[in-house]
């Protein structure tokens, strides 16, 4: 990890990568460098948690190794796996050879036959890498336990060959959508950052940073609309990712102002639940009044 980076330079580098941050984000990223601690980021879906890891990789000019978590994720998918087909093939080819069983075994349990998965990859390089463990809450507690083992000692044990120590300690970013509570042990090993939906000003900044050519009025209307939409009691509130998708779509269609027809026909870009869509459609007039485009109400 690069501890020579100052806090101010991190703020600048984040901005250069078009990541609109705030003081809390900058401080957390900086401290994770300084203290060499993983950064645990929680928050609703689509607010830019994963993006932070990508931006850190760009800042450090290194590779991003991503481990997408899911229920049932186990060591063979997260740590390593032996290439059994290749081992079998090798043994077949060696059937007539003079190699002893012990020699054969040594051969087939060497690096040539080892398939490195994200966690092993992240500690196998001399250069510091960024390890993104995405949506850790989706994985089960068993996985969390062996991930903890890695975070504690920065080494992995492969029974056939022994213990592998980290050549360099990766910058680790762990994200969670809070579909289950992560363990206290894991929290203690990480720095914690909560990212919520942005306020109007921040969201507008994000839209303008990601889509520099967007019509200013449209960008503002989109952000006010999203702010009001998030006040509704919807099942799945749209995140910044949805705002950006919507802004990109409307911008590509050369739309300059929101109106009811446009919103109705593109609602699927920001709302992904049919019940939510229905409720939004019923509240469109009210939403438009708040956005301040009364004249456009059809």
């Amino acid at each position: 990890m690069n501890e020579t980076l100052s806090k101010a330079s991190i703020a600048t580098l984040l901005a250069e990568q078009a990541y609109v941050s705030d003081d809390a984000i900058v401080m957390s990223v900086y401290l994770s460098f300084l203290l060499k601690k993983p950064l645990l980021i929680e928050g609703p879906a689509g607010v830019g948690k994963t993006e932070i890891a990508k931006v850190i990789a760009q800042i450090l000019e290194t590779k991003l190794i991503r481990l997408q978590c899911y229920e049932g994720l186990d060591a063979s998918q997260a740590l390593y796996e032996w290439n059994y087909q290749k081992q079998l093939l090798y043994l077949k080819m060696q059937e007539g050879s003079d190699l002893s069983l012990q020699e054969k075994e040594q051969q087939i349990f060497s690096d040539d036959f080892l398939m490195q998965r994200p966690l092993l990859q992240s500690i196998s390089s001399e250069q510091v890498q960024v390890l993104l463990v995405d949506e850790l809450d989706r994985a089960d507690e068993e996985f969390e336990s062996f991930f903890l083992e890695l975070l504690s000692d920065w080494q992995l044990t492969i029974p056939e060959v022994g213990t592998r120590k980290a050549k360099s300690i990766p910058a680790v970013v762990v994200t969670s959508n809070r579909t289950r509570e992560l363990s206290e042990a894991l929290r203690r090993r990480c720095l914690y950052l909560w990212i919520d939906y942005p306020n109007f000003e921040k969201e507008l900044q994000i839209v303008k940073a990601k889509l520099p050519n967007i019509n200013e009025d449209l960008a503002e209307q989109i952000c006010v609309f999203m702010k009001e939409l998030r006040k509704m009691k919807l099942e799945k509130l749209p995140g910044v990712a949805e705002t950006l998708d919507w802004a990109t779509a409307l911008s590509a269609m050369h739309i300059e102002h929101l109106d009811k027809d446009i919103v109705e026909s593109t609602l699927g870009v920001i709302i992904k639940d049919w019940q939510d869509q229905r409720e939004t459609q019923l509240s469109l007039n009210e939403l438009f009044e708040k956005v301040g485009v009364k004249s456009k109400i059809g």
Partner: protein
Amino acid sequence: MQSFILRQTSLPRHVVQFSRYLREQGFSITSSEETDLLQALKNNISQSFDEHKFLHKAILVKKRQEFLQFDALYDSYWLELSRGEDAKKQDYQEKANKKKKSKGKDLQALKQWLYSGHIDEEKELASYSSFEAVTQQDFNSFLDTEYKDVQEVLRLLSKRLVNKESRRFVRSKKKKVLDVKNTIKASLKNGLEIRDFVFKKQKKKKLKLVLICDVSKSMELYSKFLIQFIYGFQQTVYKLNTFIFSTKLVPVSRILKDEDYAKVLAKLSEYVEHWSGGTRIGESLYQFKERYSNSLIDQDAIIIIVSDGWDTGETEDLESTMRLLHKRSNRIIWINPLAGNPAYRPSTKAMQIALPYIDVFTSAHNIDSLRRVVSHLHLKKHKPFSL
């Protein structure tokens, strides 16, 4: 007891004092965080008050709730520092007196709820008793021999409910599903000669249980059973989160984990203000959805609601809440003490709204009916209940 906040002159002392202050507010700060904070502060990276705050926040906070509370606590810490010790002492004294008074009132409320649903003599006795006369013995009478039966049935209930097949595999002695990967792996050690086959099966995994129990006035009649039910359940099931509600929702799992039943009741009386109040099912479930559903409810969670369905509050949000809980959870079981009566029809507004989203609708108001529920409970999701 809360410690006084004093102006500290050294960094380590400040770190220790501030960490202690946060611990008193429920933060889980260990020496590891204190060391990190000290290391960061020594690097002198924070120049303004805000930067200083963000630095403390980034290191000491570990949960969302803490994240949301931190700013106010940080400000009040510095405010209290500036106030001085005398003023502080006075404040604490006032607070302590206030707490003492309200504790008495709350305990009486719980006692009233526990006793008034039973026979008249008990009710009369309860109403004559002054607060001081409420002894632990009164409460202990709820832990009679019947309680052991309750525990046994609850153990059975949880056993029937909590097993689900995981996506993970484990080795199996039953020769049903061949584990090709591990068979080959085992054969490699014998120079590719397959001597034994390895078999696998899907691992059983434990489901989480969430218990939401109505303790309003209309449930008084079943208060003894309910208290035994929630206490016994919490003592029996490892992964259980319990909430009680009348006019608002209160999480009580931590309190119920205490093995001393009298202590549990005393603590319950302190934390819950509205024993025997009106019922606000809609609002209470909405509170649950907003505050806890994200972290507690997923496809591995079973929600058990114990309520008679009488609602005196708004039911505006009940449908969307039930729909979401139904969709996200493994299943919803609604135990209605009134449903055992053949003449009962779930005609209250809240019940009508909730019914389409309930997977199992059943009655239990005492140990026998609970035993019947367990024996008839099916593991598969039920179709929505209709009469």
